[in-house]
Amino acid sequence: MSYILQTIHLTKTMDGRELVSDVSIHVRKGEIYGLLGPNGAGKTTLMKMITNLWKPSSGSIEIFGETLTPSSYEVLKRMGSMIEIPIFFEHMSGEENLKLHCEYMGYYKQDAVEEALAMLNLNTAAGKPVKSYSLGMKQRLGIARAILCRPELLILDEPANGLDPVGMKQIRDLFHTLSTKYDITIILSSHILSEIETIADTIGVISHGTLKEEISIKELSDITTAYIELSVAHTKKAAYLLSDKLNINNFKIMDEHNIRIYELGVSTHEIARILALNDEPVNSIFKKSETLEDHFLKITGEAER
């Protein structure tokens, strides 16, 4: 499998403290990758290393098939980013800031600035100095700048910060459009689970500087789906009974004693009764369910705190 970006055992140590430890993430072309983790987990540090602002203490980063080095300037040309709070030349207008960005990036497509401003609903404020912008407006201008030069890879650190619910929805739609229509790969970070859940194709859960899990939304959905855990003496016989007597077909034999049933319409009582009537005693039967939040808290270890 080839990835547009991958980090290989990436570690960053600063003043004797390991901010990021042995992190290996894998991002496929065109997907939206969500870095999820509590504040101080190491998301920004990881993003700073990907954008070459900070250099790794050990490990490496591969972007567009090349290993990132301090002199990988061509790679930066193909990336758009917004790390931490968006920084601007405050005395200049939003439009002037974007034009300046184009000059530094060497990007001279006509109407690019107007298009980017329109995408983020900033046309009316374009001529005003950035110092007069609200936090949400600055955030949108930061995103406009990041997408301005049509990058292949977009790195956005907490892009929904300071946005109202309408603004968040608008940004989510924009990211979907960029990903599906323009084939732009997006890596975004957030500490808000629902925000990542609604937008990402793959989630990397990071906590205390380490990657706890890297999982697609599809896989995550499978994991967190509620099911009935059934423990019997003979799974083959029990499986036959489930299918034949109860018409249950969505189940999985986990091992020689356990079956996981994903059809929740049948009561545990009824299953136990039918199995018992057919000489297949039930050792145990119970419903299990886990919300996405439970799962996240479990793997980050935050639940035990």
């Binding site: 070459n52 900070w54 250099k55 061509e74 930066l76 920084i87 030349f89």
Partner: protein, 235 residues
């Protein structure tokens, strides 16, 4: 590189510095006119020139006033262009561009240096020409010890201005090390006293060896400010 320098001027609002340089030149000119033509340098009791021996000529005053002004001016400019850029994080933005960091820093240094140098040269020329023209219509209490038709005068003016403005790179390095714009400006003021001040009869003003050494040290500090820029983490 020229494009980068122009962009530095643009984003740092160079027009603001132009206005400041014009106000400074006008203020210096007014003060010098007061000294030279309107009796500010005369003893009120005797009506004679109140100046130490050897200071009955006008050029040391022009040089001193313009040099001290521009050592501080260029120090403040470098502080804004570079040190403040680290503090307000605009340097983080700059280093996210596909341009060598050393090239960005060098462009910032050249942008501040070239403006200060040009402004200092023009200010000095403006002062020398103003005094020269004024002396045609008013009596000067100082002797006019310079020749505007001499090539040597212009060469000396250019060299002296280049050294004075370059000294601020020492202040820049101190400011960068301490991550403080104030430290840059304070270092500029200390350098101003060091190069333009005197203790009794002892002064480093006009000491060619001293100026040469300062220029060499300034260039060394430019190199030190640039080295490791590519690999250093941007905090």
């Amino acid at each position: 590189m020229i494009k980068l320098i122009k962009l530095e001027w643009k984003k740092n609002n160079i027009n603001k510095y132009m206005i400041r340089a014009l106000i400074l030149a006008a203020a210096l000119c007014l003060f010098l006119f007061g000294l030279t033509f309107f009796g500010m340098a005369l003893d009120p009791d005797t009506g004679k020139l109140d100046a130490p021996p050897g200071y009955d000529i006008v050029s040391p005053f022009i040089e001193f006033l313009s040099n001290i002004s521009y050592i501080c001016f260029s120090g403040a400019m470098l502080a804004t262009f570079i040190v403040s850029a680290y503090k307000n994080k605009t340097m983080t933005l700059m280093f996210s561009y596909p341009i060598k960091r050393q090239k960005i820093l060098l462009a910032q240094m050249i942008a501040a240096w070239s403006f200060s140098f040009l402004a200092l040269v023009l200010t000095k020329l403006f002062l020398y020409f103003s005094i020269q023209i004024g002396s045609r219509y008013m009596n000067s209490v100082f002797q006019l010890d310079y020749n505007l038709k001499s090539a040597e005068f212009y060469l000396h003016l250019l060299m002296n201005s280049a050294v004075m403005v370059s000294i601020s790179f020492v202040a820049l390095y101190i400011g960068l090390k301490m991550r403080s714009s104030k430290a840059t400006i304070i270092a500029s003021v200390i350098l101003m006293f060091l190069t333009q001040g005197s203790i009794g009869d002892f002064s480093l003003v006009g000491n060619a060896v001293m100026y040469g050494a300062l220029l060499a040290v300034s260039l060394l500090f430019v190199v030190l400010s640039l080295c490791r820029a590519e690999t250093r983490d941007l905090m």
